[in-house]
Symmetry: C2
Subunit: 451 residues, 2 copies
Amino acid sequence: MSKIPYKTYLPEAQMPTQWQSLRADMKNCPPMLHPGTRQPVTLDDLRPVFVEELAKQELSDAKFIDIPGEVMDFYRMIRPSPLVRAYALEKALGTPARIYYKFEGTNTSGSHKLNSAVAQAYYAKQQGLTSLTTETGAGQWGTALSMACAYYGIDLSVYMVKISSEQKPYRKAVMETYKAKVTPSPSNTTNCGRAALAENPNSHGSLGNAISEALEVAMSTDNCRYVLGSVLQHVLLHQSVIGLEARAAMDSLEEYPDIVVGCAGGGSNLGGLIVTYASDKLLGKANPRIVAVEPASCPSLTRGRYAYDFGDTAMTTPLIKMYTMGSAFKPHENHAGGLRYHGMNTVMSQLKEDGLLEAIAVPQKSVFEAATLFARTEGTLPAPESAHAIRGAIDEALACKESGESKCILFGLSGTGYFDMQAYMDYNEGRMDDNIPDDATLANGFASIPG
Amino acid sequence: MSKIPYKTYLPEAQMPTQWQSLRADMKNCPPMLHPGTRQPVTLDDLRPVFVEELAKQELSDAKFIDIPGEVMDFYRMIRPSPLVRAYALEKALGTPARIYYKFEGTNTSGSHKLNSAVAQAYYAKQQGLTSLTTETGAGQWGTALSMACAYYGIDLSVYMVKISSEQKPYRKAVMETYKAKVTPSPSNTTNCGRAALAENPNSHGSLGNAISEALEVAMSTDNCRYVLGSVLQHVLLHQSVIGLEARAAMDSLEEYPDIVVGCAGGGSNLGGLIVTYASDKLLGKANPRIVAVEPASCPSLTRGRYAYDFGDTAMTTPLIKMYTMGSAFKPHENHAGGLRYHGMNTVMSQLKEDGLLEAIAVPQKSVFEAATLFARTEGTLPAPESAHAIRGAIDEALACKESGESKCILFGLSGTGYFDMQAYMDYNEGRMDDNIPDDATLANGFASIPG
């Protein structure tokens, strides 16, 4: 066999033209429930808040859904993303493992979030909506949605957690270059924002409050809906392009991973990456290990409970069955902002519950150690979120070095760290902590899970 | 003919394995002169300051030079870069022109500078050197060299213009993540730095002084040399990978550009992009238009003089024949930091003198207008430097719209603007000026050109 190239790009003609649902292969994935009736939510429940087509996808049982032509046009601008053989990292580790990563950070938004943002903005446009609202914490989702809305000509209002908008003024500037209106949250533009400010005029804001503000504006504005970038089924569906491309590229190299590793926040990147390999497991075709890596500071899969819980801290969403810390859980300020969510997508949670997905929690300093090694060898500066997957992959590769096995490891590198340099500075200068929650903090969170 | 794909990546096996020198096709390119003797510089003159192999390349007449295997290994990590068909931009402009761009910004350094940085660090390592020094203004070069030195295990000391290190702390953080020692200049670590501080303790620094500090340290440190990222022949040579890849990809699409457009600072990106097409002109094989786009605030090609001048403001380098504003010319503070050099590479200058290269100067606000349109349509946020080429390409495409001609336009997109968001904020908020120098300012600069 000829030497495997450093990077494999699928030819444009071989890019996937359908999204794939992993949930369609599962018999036991619990539905979202209406918090009042405790009955499965219906399209009528979701329609007032969500874009119609996205609500349908949220409830659909279809295994494959065609990607619309105009979304494919955008995907052809930003995709395929490269599948990279990590020769330099393998050499630095001295491992016999064969390490591959699927890199989603080459677009301007810097992450995989754009895969779903484009689809969501497109369906909004098709429905005749003129504006969308959303929230953003770390900023990746807000940036991605800004790009997509600029492309399709839709107005976008982003509620950005206030502390994040102050710490990341350049994230805000990118969104504004893409014409989004960015409002630090809590703000005085909504009732719930004003209430939060009345309670604490110096509030740093929270993702929960930003969601509430975005929801309030969407509900009270004509031709406007609320969209979000993780956790839900339709977002996982769109992110399947990651895994479908990765699978086609791996197949073309005649490689099948022994281990697939992804970072886990709300679960959309992980769910997208593993879609075909987890399907193989569900259908009994193959049995690769699938490893979710989460931050030790917000360990929903490894220390959380599998229960119905609210998706937001204001407890207004449908109930979602998930591994959760409880919606009242407050993780420490933590630079991997994209992995600070209290819960986990239902599909990922059920796979964990069924023993089909392993999960590990890693402390932040060990994550930045891995990120820095990766940057210096592979040449790409990873996002802190993505570096959790690097940590997981390195640990598996070092285990191969111990055992002498040449396993094939595939991991997802979901984005770049260009807008996270403050975190790198803190790490470089020894100002970073691991912030692992104690049992009392966990108990406080669990107490908020509805009975 | 089937539809041309959005992006064309050369297969790894077709990546160029030799650099190509454009100067080798020219009969009349003036040599660098020793400032004392006014005789052409020799290898012995260059050896104390420069890496031996780079000095040899600087003086070489060879048309092709093999790229070393270890440099090819690194190129395979960061290259090939995509050749992109700008369908969305064409549609937004309503032009019949076919617009292509070669995008060099997908690596972590964010620009084409890495192409030469890797080669320079490799040759330093081969020579047994243990450290290098350099200066950086905008930060692209310092970042690229930091990455290359981390990869090859060489210590790097970067003198960064003080105002730039203060305005771009995250650029500095990237370099430090790659283990470089970054010193704001002027500093008290060198004689010339101390002299500058004695004269003005609050000095913002200048590229000229940063060069002088880096040179002083290189000259006074064992196993250390000084390297730089533009203007000189060996840098143009390394950047030829841009043009060689672009040519191979364009050929594979059966496209030959009517117009090739590049931004021009020191000239290395432009020289790399145009190498094969300019060679065609020199050898009488074809006659595409070649257009250099420079900032109206620092217009060496359009308002400068073609003369022997010093490369640095301290007037210590060999004399270089170039279009120059004079080494004492001080452009306004200008966000396209990479295009603020007072002179222009000799090969580019001679092509201009011989009528083989056109040059235009564009005001900064029109550049950001083009950058913003490009970001919103093509989805990539360009560096301010690169956006000069976008401005030039858009203007040619609009001329095609006027005339109804479907010309083929190729331009170079040399990098991303992730670390230039302050400039975008200034533009978005109406705080940007064009800063076009008046005749008196030009006359002051010209007075510094040696007689």
